[in-house]
C-alpha cells in the first residue's frame, strides 16, 4: 500500500485515485474532529467534505517538514471554528439528539450497553457545547488526538503559552460544569482508536 506522502505526491500530479486514498486514510480523524467541534453528524460530514476539498486546493502549499496529519487537521479545525463563529451569529444549535454511528456498536452486547454508550456520547458533546470555539478546539486536539502544546500551537497559529492558557480555562469551565452535573458518567470502552486511526 502506498504511504501517505506518496499519495500526496501523486495527488499533486493530478491522480484522483491517490487523492481518494488520502481521504480514506484521514477521513476518520477529520470526521471525528469535525463532529466533536460542530456537534452534529450532518454538519460534521459536510465539514469533512469541505476540509478535503480545501486540502486538495492547497496540496501544493504543504510543507513536508510538517506532519501531514497535523496539516490536514489544522485545515479542518480552522474551517470548523469559522463555521462555529458564523453559526453563533445565526442561532444557537442544541446538542444533536441523533448521534453518529459508533465504531463499537457492532461489538456491544445488548441494548443497555448501547444506551449507556449513547448517553455518554451525548453528555460529552453537551459538555463540549458549553465551551467557546477556541477552548473546544484545544480540548478536542488534546484528548482525541493527543496533540502536544507545541503541535497545537503550530496547528492553530498561536503560542504555547496561549495553548496552556486556553487548556487551563477550558478545563476550569468543564470541571465546573461537571461538578454541577447531577449524574456522573459511567466508564465505558475507549473508542479513541478510531479518532487516532491514521495518525500514527
Amino acid at each position: 500500500m502506498r504511504d501517505e506522502r506518496t499519495l500526496l505526491q501523486q495527488a499533486l500530479m493530478g491522480d484522483d485515485t491517490a487523492f481518494a486514498g488520502l481521504v480514506v486514510a484521514f477521513q476518520g480523524p477529520v470526521y471525528n474532529l469535525c463532529y466533536r467541534l460542530l456537534g452534529t453528524p450532518m454538519e460534521a460530514e459536510e465539514a469533512a467534505q469541505e476540509t478535503f476539498l480545501r486540502v486538495y486546493r492547497r496540496l501544493h502549499t504543504y510543507d513536508p517538514a510538517q506532519k501531514l496529519s497535523s496539516w490536514i487537521l489544522a485545515i479542518a479545525a480552522h474551517y470548523c471554528v469559522d463555521r462555529l463563529r458564523r453559526r453563533r451569529h445565526v442561532v444557537g444549535v442544541p446538542v444533536e439528539e441523533v448521534l453518529p454511528r459508533q465504531p463499537q456498536e457492532e461489538k456491544m452486547a445488548g441494548p443497555e450497553e448501547r444506551l449507556l454508550h449513547h448517553e455518554r456520547q451525548r453528555e460529552i458533546q453537551d459538555l463540549l457545547s458549553h465551551l467557546p470555539e477556541g477552548y473546544r478546539t484545544v480540548i478536542v486536539l488534546r484528548y482525541w488526538y493527543d496533540a502536544s502544546y507545541e503541535e497545537m500551537a503550530e496547528m492553530l497559529g498561536t503560542t504555547v503559552s496561549a495553548i496552556k492558557s486556553r487548556l487551563h480555562r477550558a478545563r476550569e469551565v468543564l470541571a465546573a460544569r461537571l461538578g454541577e452535573s447531577p449524574a456522573r458518567l459511567a466508564a465505558g470502552e475507549s473508542g479513541r482508536d478510531v479518532a487516532r486511526d491514521g495518525l500514527q
Binding site: P103, E189, S190
Partner: protein
C-alpha cells in the same frame, strides 16, 4: 519552596494533567492539595473530567465519504471550466464585434453595415442586429476619437487599433491559460 496560592495551584493542575510539571512542582502542588480542601475538591473534578475525556469514544465517518469528496471535486472542476469558457467566449465575441465595427466604420461608414442586417441568418437576426448596432455606435465613437487625434489617418489607424486589441486579448488569454492547472492538478489556494 514558597507557599502556593490557590490560583497558582489551579494553573498547575492543568499542567499536571498533561505531564508538564517537574517532580519538585508536583510535590509542591500535592502539598497544597493536602492543606486546601477547596482545591482538593476542584482537583477531584479535574481528574474526573480528565478521565472522562481520556476514555471518550471516537465516532466513525459515514460510508462513502471519499466518493462524495471526489464527486464534489469533479463538479467544482466542471463549473470552473464552464465559467472560464463563458468568460473567454464573451471576451472573444466582444473583441470581434469591436474590431468589426471599427474597421467597417472606418472603411465604409455605419450605414452599409446596418444595411446588411436583414440578410443575416434568421436565427441569429435578433442578436446580430443588436451586436452590429452596438458595434456601429462604438466604431463611430472610436472613429471620432481617432479623427480628433489624426484627422486623415483614421482608416490606417483602424487596423492598428484592431491589432492592439488582439494583442491585449492574446495576453489576457495567456494569463487565463497559465492560471489553469495542467492535467487536472490542484488550482491555487
Amino acid at each position: 519552596m514558597h507557599a502556593m496560592g490557590c490560583n497558582e495551584a489551579r494553573e498547575w493542575m492543568s499542567l499536571r494533567l498533561d505531564g508538564r510539571l517537574e517532580p519538585a512542582e508536583e510535590e509542591q502542588l500535592s502539598e497544597h492539595l493536602r492543606r486546601c480542601p477547596s482545591c482538593a475538591l476542584e482537583w477531584s473534578h479535574w481528574q474526573e473530567l480528565d478521565g472522562l475525556l481520556r476514555t471518550a469514544p471516537g465516532v466513525a465517518p459515514p460510508e462513502g465519504l471519499s466518493a462524495l469528496v471526489l464527486e464534489r471535486l469533479r463538479q467544482q472542476r466542471a463549473r470552473q471550466i464552464a465559467g472560464s469558457l463563458v468568460v473567454i467566449g464573451l471576451q472573444v465575441t466582444g473583441l470581434g464585434v469591436l474590431m468589426l465595427g471599427a474597421v467597417a466604420y472606418c472603411l465604409h461608414g455605419v450605414a452599409p453595415v446596418l444595411s446588411q442586417v436583414p440578410y443575416l441568418i434568421p436565427a441569429a437576426r435578433f442578436a446580430a442586429t443588436h451586436l452590429v448596432t452596438v458595434a456601429g455606435v462604438l466604431g463611430e465613437a472610436i472613429g471620432v476619437l481617432m479623427r480628433a487625434a489624426v484627422s486623415r489617418r483614421a482608416a490606417l489607424l483602424a487596423p492598428a487599433y484592431a491589432l492592439l486589441a488582439a494583442g491585449v486579448m492574446a495576453a489576457w488569454l495567456r494569463v487565463v491559460v497559465r492560471r489553469r492547472p495542467a492535467a487536472g492538478g490542484p488550482a491555487g489556494a
